[in-house]
């Protein structure tokens, strides 16, 4: 069964077909909370991808060693290790971003995308496939965060990555940097992806 899926598909499915946010609706908490600016969204996406790729690699290497009774505990310890590494790294080298993201970097530990991929994929597949899967999922997650945060920063602050791009008299839509703006934009994005899928299958 697993052999039938091509390596390419292992990688690409995370980007669209099984996108962790748009299709599986996992990891919504950081998605909604940190996407106020492109910088934050990108940092969050990269940090989560780093944790996902590292822990997928390690867990697929150790998959035959870990007894299944303690697999979740082992996964969490491994994930937590990489999250702490990412958290400390950001705090030491990018203190401003670390301050903006606040508790959401440590909270990657309980992000469903990461534990879900370990349980559903890395613990059952070889290292190569697991890395491809993690790369695809990480990329899918980061892309959605990037689009969401671009829309929110553009309309909510009139800037992208801190540079003014809207015309001078543009008055920012405050709602876009507030929680309702995150829900509205994400809802519209999920709606659009469903609409596209719907039209494709027709």
């Amino acid at each position: 069964m697993a052999k039938k899926v091509s390596l390419l598909e292992d990688f690409t499915k995370g980007i669209w077909k099984e996108n962790p946010i748009l299709i599986a609706l996992l990891g919504l908490c950081p998605t909604l909370a940190v996407t106020i600016s492109v910088e934050n969204g990108l940092a969050m996406g990269l940090a989560a991808s780093f944790v996902l790729i590292c822990s997928s690699t390690l867990i697929s290497l150790l998959r035959n060693l870990i007894p299944k009774q303690v697999r979740i505990a082992s996964f969490i310890v491994i994930i937590a290790t990489f999250v702490t590494i990412a958290d400390r790294y950001l705090a030491a080298f990018y203190p401003e971003i670390s301050k903006n993201l606040g508790p959401f970097i440590p909270l990657i530990i309980v992000n469903c995308i990461i534990l879900g991929r370990q349980e559903a994929f890395a613990s059952k597949n070889g290292v190569g496939r697991s890395i491809l899967d993690a790369l695809g999922m990480g990329l899918g997650f980061t892309l959605v965060l990037l689009i969401l945060s671009t829309i929110r920063e553009l309309l909510g602050s009139g800037t992208i990555l801190g540079y003014q791009v809207m015309w001078d008299s543009f008055s920012p839509w405050m709602v876009m940097v507030l929680p309702p703006g995150a829900f509205l934009t994400l809802g519209l994005m999920i709606g659009a992806s469903n609409w596209i899928n719907d039209r494709r299958t027709r």
């Binding site: 008055s171 839509w173 405050m174 709602v175 876009m176 507030l178 309702p180 509205l184 709606g191």
Partner: protein, 364 residues
């Protein structure tokens, strides 16, 4: 015994008054049990649902409500000048254009002539401050129609009142512009009591003055409408005229304004009796802010208010209670929009809880 139950049941009697379709079927044979179904007096004719009692339809109601808003529009023009005409017409145009574009995209029949988009644009404009930029009116109208109504599936499927949702979006997006007021052209500076400085009054509505500056405004200008406020909400006189017209035509359920205004008067009155120096009188509550406009024209929206009589009372009294709490203890001076939107959100729940018993259903 059974006969009595049939005539006593409200539901059956209401439904039976004038059935929409008179079955042209041939006369049935005389049934020996006829007397069971046809009690003396009013005959009970049953047909399958839906039942319709009047010749009203959506366009007629929508255009009548728009007509009933004419006095408020005239008031807006008198007090705030031609800017009002500009804002109102741009809002309506934007709402109708959005409706047309989205029905085209959704490949649905054109619904412009049912007047609901016209009404949404009109109502939205009337709730905006006179200094609000016209581009913001367009944004609010587009949001109201696209995300307030069409995204749920069009008229009848929306959970919230589209005009109020558009206003809520604008309020959240441009909090400063949405609370920047000017006095109308004929404002009377003597109408304000308290430590008055002209600076304080130019920038506020009577409710804002009360909340932040502890300045009370006289009732007479409040009634006529030459105080600061949104385009169509300042003149209680104009709104009452339109509202009563609407109630006479029965295009709005009288229980909603009565319950809403009544509960505001009662709950506001309780606080006023405890401490008249801090809390405003019930009449001030009724005449100030957007309460009258909201109670007559927005809370009464048929799509977003409960369908049962008991539910209607819960809905309107609840809205009044929330309003008084927001006005007296909230961070904002005015809360009509949020009180109606909150009760809109509760409407499906209220409908479920107050569902009438099925005929013959045992008491639980």
């Amino acid at each position: 015994m059974e006969k009595n139950e049939i005539t006593a049941s409200d539901q059956a009697a209401e439904a039976s008054e004038t059935p929409k379709k008179k079955a042209p079927a041939p006369k049935p044979k005389k049934d020996p049990r006829d007397h069971l179904y046809k009690p003396k007096g009013r005959p009970l004719t049953m047909s399958s649902s839906p039942y319709s009692q009047t010749k009203d339809n959506v366009p007629k109601i929508m255009w009548c409500v728009s007509l009933a808003l004419t006095p408020a529009v005239i008031g807006a023009v008198i007090f705030f000048g031609l800017k009002a005409v500009y804002m109102i017409s741009i809002s309506i145009l934007a709402a109708m254009a959005t409706e047309w574009i989205i029905t085209r995209i959704r490949r649905k029949p054109n619904t412009l002539d049912d007047g609901s988009a016209f009404l949404t644009g009109l109502l939205l404009a009337l709730t905006l401050p006179p200094t609000f930029p016209v581009s913001g009116c367009v944004l609010g109208s587009v949001f109201a129609i696209a995300l307030g109504k069409q995204i749920f599936g069009g008229l009848g499927c929306n959970i919230f009142n589209p005009a109020l949702l558009g206003r809520a979006f604008l309020q959240a997006s441009f909090p400063v512009k949405m609370t920047t007021w000017v006095l109308p052209r004929y404002a009377d500076m003597n109408a304000y009591t308290g430590s008055v400085s002209p600076d304080a009054i130019t920038g506020a509505t009577p409710l804002g003055l009360l909340k932040y500056e502890k300045i009370f405004t006289d009732l007479k200008p409040l009634f006529i409408g030459n105080v600061g406020g949104s385009l169509g909400e300042t003149s209680a006189l104009a709104i009452l005229a339109g509202g009563i017209f609407l109630l006479i035509l029965r295009h709005a359920d009288w229980r909603i304004p009565v319950g809403f205004l009544g509960s505001v008067a009662i709950f506001g009155g309780i606080f006023w009796m405890v401490d008249p120096a801090t809390y405003p009188s019930p009449l001030f509550h009724l005449l100030s802010g957007g309460l009258l406009l909201g109670a007559f024209f927005m809370a009464t929206d048929m799509v977003t208010s409960p369908i049962t009589i008991k539910g209607t009372w819960i809905y309107s009294i609840g809205a009044g209670l929330i309003l008084v709490i927001i006005r007296l203890f909230g961070g904002l001076p005015e809360g009509v929009m949020y009180s109606i939107l909150l009760m809109n959100g509760l409407t499906p729940l209220i409908n479920r809880l107050t569902r009438p018993k099925f005929f013959g259903e045992a008491r639980a």
